[in-house]
Each structure stands twice: as structure tokens, then as C-alpha cells.
């Protein structure tokens, strides 16, 4: 026995190690990361609530500035991608690599489509004069402000909170799509995930479902209320 090995033996506790959470490290790490993400989005949502209820006037009514139909479709798309993610997870649990690859690809495409639609929504809103700073002068929305359909006093707050919250969420979705695409090409396609080794799929899945969960809340408070 070498000196190093003997030292390690002496350091080993004379009792079995506690099982703790019984969770492998990457999954535990993801849950801790998600806990920090809850606080991050709580800060954004909390700030939004405080700004909205402390605003010097009425907030724009839902459906006037924002396109609810396209966002509702986007919400449905994200829910579908969450289902396809969990189907990928279930497939690899059963050892079916082919199905897992299919569902993971569907999830990536669903996420990419969500981001694409959000970019289209942003371009559309900016074209109509809805900016993070408020309403652009001479635009279609500026006319609605002049008519009194939209409140002039709170449009700046409305724009800044809308773009901040949906922008940060969109950034998270983009990160998720990139992570899943990375796993798809480096692990899923070469067949590195098996019935006994699917930690990457489960961990990235947790992140993806969290992103879906946050959007469910954001969709309600930003678009519907």
C-alpha cells in the first residue's frame, strides 16, 4: 500500500456516508441554480408589481398594445415543448435512444420557434411605436395615446417592464435551446445516453420546465392582467 492510499484510508469515516438528498451532483446543482433563478425572476416580477401599482395613473388595458393571439400561440408552443422534453426523458429511461433523439429535437425546434416568434413580436411592436422608453412620437400607438385610448403617464414604465421581463425570459429560452442543441449533437446523436446514464437529459429538462413555468406566470401578469 502506498503512503497516499494509506492516508486516504485513514481519512475515511468509520461509518457509511449519509445518503443526503440521494440526488446526483448535476441534478442537485441544477436545483440549487433554479432556486437562485426563482429569486432572480421574483426580483423582476416584484419590481413590476411595485411599479405597476405605484404608477401615476392607469396601466394600458390588455390586448391594446400587445398581440395576445400570437403570444397565446407561443405559450401553447412552449407547453408543447415541455411535453416533448419530458417524453425525451421518458424515452431514454426506457432505453429508446431513437425516440429520445426525436423528442429532444422537437423540443429544440419548439424552443427555437418560441424565440423566433418573440423576435417577430418585438419587431412588430417596435414598428408600431412601442419602445422600452414608451411610445415613439408620430407612431400608430402615439395616436392612441393622443386619443386617450392609452394612458400617456405610464407607457414608459409599461415598455421598460415589458421588455425587461420578456427579454430576460427570452434570453433564458435561448440559453436552453443552445444547451439542448449542444447535448443533442455531442451526446444524443453519438448514442452516449443510455437507460443507465441519462443525467444530462434530466438536468437540462429541469431547466427547460422551469423556463416554461416562469413563462406561465409572465404570460398572465404581463399579457392578461
Amino acid at each position: 500500500m502506498t503512503h497516499a492510499a494509506a492516508t486516504v484510508d485513514q481519512m475515511r469515516p468509520p461509518y457509511p456516508a449519509e445518503r443526503g438528498l440521494d440526488v446526483y451532483n448535476t441534478k442537485l446543482g441544477m436545483w440549487i441554480f433554479l432556486a437562485s433563478e426563482v429569486m432572480f425572476f421574483a426580483a423582476l416580477i416584484g419590481t413590476y408589481i411595485i411599479l405597476r401599482f405605484g404608477a401615476p395613473g392607469e396601466w394600458a388595458k390588455p390586448g391594446i398594445v400587445l398581440n395576445i393571439k400570437i403570444t397565446a400561440f407561443n405559450t401553447f408552443l412552449l407547453i408543447c415543448s415541455s411535453v416533448s422534453m419530458v417524453k425525451a426523458y421518458a424515452s431514454i429511461q426506457d432505453g429508446d435512444q431513437k425516440k429520445m433523439r426525436f423528442w429532444l429535437l422537437m423540443t429544440i425546434l419548439g424552443g427555437a420557434a418560441f424565440v423566433g416568434i418573440q423576435v417577430y413580436e418585438y419587431l412588430h411592436l417596435i414598428e408600431h411605436g412601442f419602445l422600452p422608453s414608451g411610445v415613439r412620437e408620430g407612431s400608430e400607438l402615439a395616436e392612441l395615446v393622443a386619443k386617450g385610448t392609452l394612458p400617456a403617464a405610464t407607457m414608459g414604465l409599461y415598455g421598460s417592464t415589458f421588455y425587461t421581463m420578456t427579454g430576460f425570459h427570452g434570453f433564458h429560452v435561448t440559453c436552453g435551446v443552445i444547451s439542448m442543441a449542444y447535448l443533442y449533437f455531442t451526446k444524443a446523436l453519438p448514442g452516449k445516453y443510455t437507460k443507465l446514464n441519462y443525467g444530462g437529459i434530466e438536468t437540462v429538462g429541469l431547466y427547460w420546465h422551469f423556463v416554461d413555468l416562469v413563462w406561465i406566470i409572465l404570460f398572465t401578469i404581463v399579457y392578461l392582467i
Binding site: 408589481i49 411595485i50 408543447c80 415541455s82 406566470i217 398572465t220 401578469i221 392578461l224
Partner: protein
């Protein structure tokens, strides 16, 4: 992998989520009720949907209790954080 639990019906959860989203839209734009009631009901539906995702897609319903506690700890902290900010505004 330590996951060994009865698998939920994911498609059924998906149907619930789709129906609840449709209900939200109907509630927000079609139902003639007061704004405060709309606010309460919409938030209730959003929390219901979020719970479905957390419990069944993130498998919190099937995890060990200590992982569930770890996952839920930030929620009351977030609520305290938001209420503290709101109380600052009110008082």
C-alpha cells in the same frame, strides 16, 4: 439513476395545461366579471398551471421530501421579498 416512480400521464397534463390556457384567455377577454375577480382567478389559474409543470414535468411529486423542501424554499422567500417591496410602497 435513482429515479424509480410511477410515470405520470404526460399527455393528460399537456391537455390540462392547454385547457387552462384557453380558460385564461376566455376569462381575460370574454367573461363579464369585475377586474378584481379576474385578477384573482387569472392568478389562481397561473399558479395551478405552474404547479402542474413543477409537480409532474419536473417530477417534484415523486422526489424525496428533502429535495422537495429544497425546491420550495425560495418560493416563500420570493413572496416575502415581493411583499416587503410592496409594503415599502404602501407605507
Amino acid at each position: 439513476m435513482e429515479t424509480a416512480h410511477k410515470r405520470p400521464n404526460y399527455i393528460l397534463i399537456w391537455v390540462y395545461l392547454a385547457v387552462l390556457t384557453a380558460a385564461e384567455l376566455g376569462l381575460a377577454f370574454e367573461l363579464p366579471i369585475s377586474r378584481n375577480w379576474k385578477l384573482v382567478l387569472l392568478l389562481f389559474l397561473a399558479v395551478w398551471k405552474a404547479a402542474l409543470v413543477g409537480l409532474f414535468f419536473m417530477h417534484l411529486k415523486f422526489e424525496r421530501w428533502n429535495l422537495r423542501v429544497m425546491a420550495l424554499i425560495p418560493l416563500p422567500l420570493a413572496v416575502i421579498f415581493i411583499l416587503a417591496g410592496m409594503s415599502e410602497h404602501i407605507w
